[in-house]
């Protein structure tokens, strides 16, 4: 009897795939799986390394040192009113979330194809966990970032940093998730994306003001395109918290809007195609 009573409360149907359903309730039911997948990815990443999770801090730090040595004297960043190491680190910390995020998410369906073929769970969990893993790295890098700030810019305001970081990170995450899930879905069908993704990340690094300021670009058309880049927006917002210029609300609204559009494009394409992942993965 127990089975029967319990069963009636959870009736559901399996039907041919039709239309677009986001089914966020189901995703919520599987939230623990996101936790376990993220845990797995993070653990595997640093297994058998001597320095372990220190790598998450060391990588951007060393990049900051290298960029400072090579570019510090040659780039005019006077409009930012920031020491170059702070300038470049504030870009790198957000850029890393995006770059690692879309690369992990973009390859995640292929990496986990053997699981996808054998069991059902909301497929979105896989790219989401990939991006969550990069957030763990981010939180460690953040500690190093604050250390750099204390050293180079002791006057910075922690409260302002937290507020700006919140918005920057929201933009970055929406964008990363949108592009990441789009790439993940495309990668299942067209394996070319395995090679396109690293190339794309390199190109995007050039069109985002991570290591140089937007102001060095003279071409008007390029500047307009750059202005649409939500990654650039997020980085600018974070930097504005450090030099005390205050939040550019128009930039914030524009970046949020574009990242939301990207988010929905990625999510919709993923949801539309996920039914057939198991057949072709």
């Amino acid at each position: 009897m127990y089975v029967c009573v319990k069963a009636r409360s959870m009736e559901y149907e399996i039907k041919p795939a039709k239309g677009l359903q986001f089914n966020l309730k189901e995703l919520w039911e599987f939230r623990e799986l996101i936790y376990f997948f993220t845990l797995r990815d993070v653990k595997i990443k640093y297994k058998q390394t001597v320095l372990g999770a220190l790598w998450a801090i060391l990588q951007p730090f060393l990049l900051m040192v290298i960029f400072t040595v090579f570019f510090a004297g040659h780039l005019d960043i006077s409009s930012y009113n920031l020491p170059y190491p702070v300038f470049v680190f504030s870009g790198l910390i957000l850029w890393n979330v995006f770059a690692t995020g879309i690369s992990t998410a973009g390859n995640s369906m292929i990496v986990n194809s053997n699981i996808i073929k054998k069991i059902y769970f909301p497929r979105l969990i896989i790219p989401i966990s990939g991006i969550m893993g990069t957030l763990i790295d981010f939180s460690m890098t953040l500690i190093m970032f604050i250390g750099v700030l204390v050293y180079f810019l002791p006057t910075f305001s922690l409260a302002s940093l937290i507020i700006h970081l919140f918005f920057s990170l929201t933009i970055i995450l929406l964008t990363t998730f949108g592009i990441g899930s789009l790439l993940a879905a495309l990668n299942v069908k067209y394996r070319d994306f395995r090679y396109i993704i690293p190339f794309m990340i390199q190109v995007l690094l050039f069109v985002s003001p991570v290591i140089y300021p937007v102001s060095i670009i003279k071409n008007n058309f390029l500047v307009k395109i750059l202005n649409l880049n939500p990654i650039a927006g997020a980085i600018e917002i974070l930097r504005s918290s450090l030099n005390g210029t205050g939040m550019d609300l128009i930039l914030l609204a524009k970046s949020l809007l574009i990242s939301l559009v990207l988010f929905f494009i990625g999510l919709s394409y993923f949801r539309k195609t996920e039914y057939y992942f198991a057949d072709i993965a």
């Binding site: 089975v3 029967c4 936790y35 797995r40 069991i119």
Partner: protein, 403 residues
């Protein structure tokens, strides 16, 4: 009582890509736009057609059929891994599917970490895994290696751990695909015992297997699938025997020595096949006919104490009787060895049988051994049990005296 699972007219179509892989490369689309529109190389294939059945709560159903009959596709549709092309399934309970054990196991993680990951992938809540963790580890018998990375486990240990997690799944409906067929005998027994417990506790099981004995043991009802359709749906006994007779091929009654399989050159069985009284090839025997098995042996070194051992086996491989014949008695004037075993008429009950034959020495040395060869069918020609054809009422029919 409403069925816990209603499968209505499920069909599933696959596309077979003849020239390139199902995942296409962009180039083929860009470089050859014509290809984009041409459909010639895509062939449609219906893996499932009009599959309809109901499952009541607490029932355990076996799904049997040859390879490619659509069993696995059906399980995949039921597990939501792939959507049906048409039709619908109404489920009134949580489905857990076990199409493989240890899904998601990662070699770099420890046994403990893998239990949680695998359990979670299978749909268990963290709390459930925590509560049952000790029992899972106990069942697997690997507590000593719990915090060792999985890559240092033997494959047997990995299997044990994987089974142990699966054994503690607790859904209303459980879908299992052939996974019990692996692992050592002891552990298999443990798993089957656990599964019997599951059925007794009133949960519903759908079970795909090629092991008819196991299906008989665990399931009350069975579906026989062929080419994507359900051919028969009936009690397990009837369906399994239908499967076995359906699976039956004319040439199955012939055994021919394969030099790659035996390296023994002294004595081996050259060929064996069932024949009628005129030595003509025959695979279906009436109950009232003599079953003849002709065996040809190649023997190069002649000793005095070699025996040909022949046994009749039922469809599950159990031996019904064994007969020994000294090799020297099978030698002909020209030096060749052969003989025809005659099983009396009106004795072997209508069913499917096979033969086991071997050349052995009386001290136990085995020269050549073959199991389940020369499949034959004994057809009912009007026995007192003809109304029970297909049921297992025993392997021989004797007319005994009553006093």
């Amino acid at each position: 009582m409403k069925p816990i699972l209603e499968v209505k007219n499920i069909a599933k179509k696959f596309k077979i890509y003849h020239e390139h892989l199902p995942y296409e490369s962009l180039r083929s689309k860009i470089m050859n736009p014509l290809k984009f529109f041409s459909k010639k190389e895509v062939e449609e294939f219906w893996a499932l057609k009009n599959v309809t059945f109901n499952v009541n709560p607490g029932e355990s159903i076996g799904i049997i059929g040859k390879n490619g009959a659509g069993k696995s596709t059906l399980l995949k549709v039921l597990s939501k891994i792939t959507p049906p092309t048409s039709g619908k399934i109404i489920s009134r309970g949580r489905i857990a599917s076990l199409l493989e054990v240890g899904t998601g196991f990662h070699p770099e993680l420890t046994g403990r970490e893998n239990v949680f990951l695998n359990g979670s992938i299978l749909g268990m809540k963290r709390k459930e895994i925590n509560d049952q963790f000790d029992a899972i580890i106990d069942f697997s018998g690997i507590e000593k290696f719990l915090d060792t990375q999985l890559k240092h486990y033997s494959s047997g240990m990995q299997l044990r751990l994987a089974f142990a997690v699966a054994a503690f799944l607790n859904p209303e409906i459980m879908i299992i695909d052939e996974v019990l067929a692996v692992g050592d005998a002891d552990f298999q027994k443990k798993c089957i015992g656990k599964m019997e417990g599951v059925t007794k506790s009133g949960r519903t099981i759908l079970f795909v297997s090629h092991q008819m004995g196991l299906v008989n043991q665990l399931c009350s009802r069975a579906l026989l699938m062929n080419k994507g359709e359900i051919l028969v749906s009936d009690s397990t006994e009837i369906v399994t025997s239908k499967y076995l007779s359906f699976d039956y091929h004319e040439s199955d009654n012939i055994f021919i020595h394969n030099p790659q399989q035996t390296d023994n050159k002294e004595h081996y069985i050259q060929s064996a096949f069932t024949v009628d009284e005129n030595e003509k090839n025959k695979s279906v025997f009436g109950f009232n006919e003599i079953i003849r098995l002709k065996i040809v042996i190649a023997s190069n070194i002649i000793h005095s104490d070699e025996l040909l051992s022949v046994a009749l086996q039922d469809k599950y491989g159990n031996r019904i009787f064994t007969i020994h014949q000294p090799l020297e008695k099978l030698q002909h004037a020209d030096g060749k060895y052969s003989g025809t075993l005659c099983i009396p008429e009106n004795l072997i009950a209508p069913n499917i049988y096979a033969f086991h034959f071997a050349i052995v020495r009386s001290d136990g040395k085995v020269y050549d051994i073959h199991e389940g060869q020369c499949r034959i069918r004994v057809a009912d020609t009007g026995t007192p049990f003809s109304q029970y054809e297909g049921k297992d009422y025993g392997h021989i029919i004797l007319s005994c005296k009553w006093e």
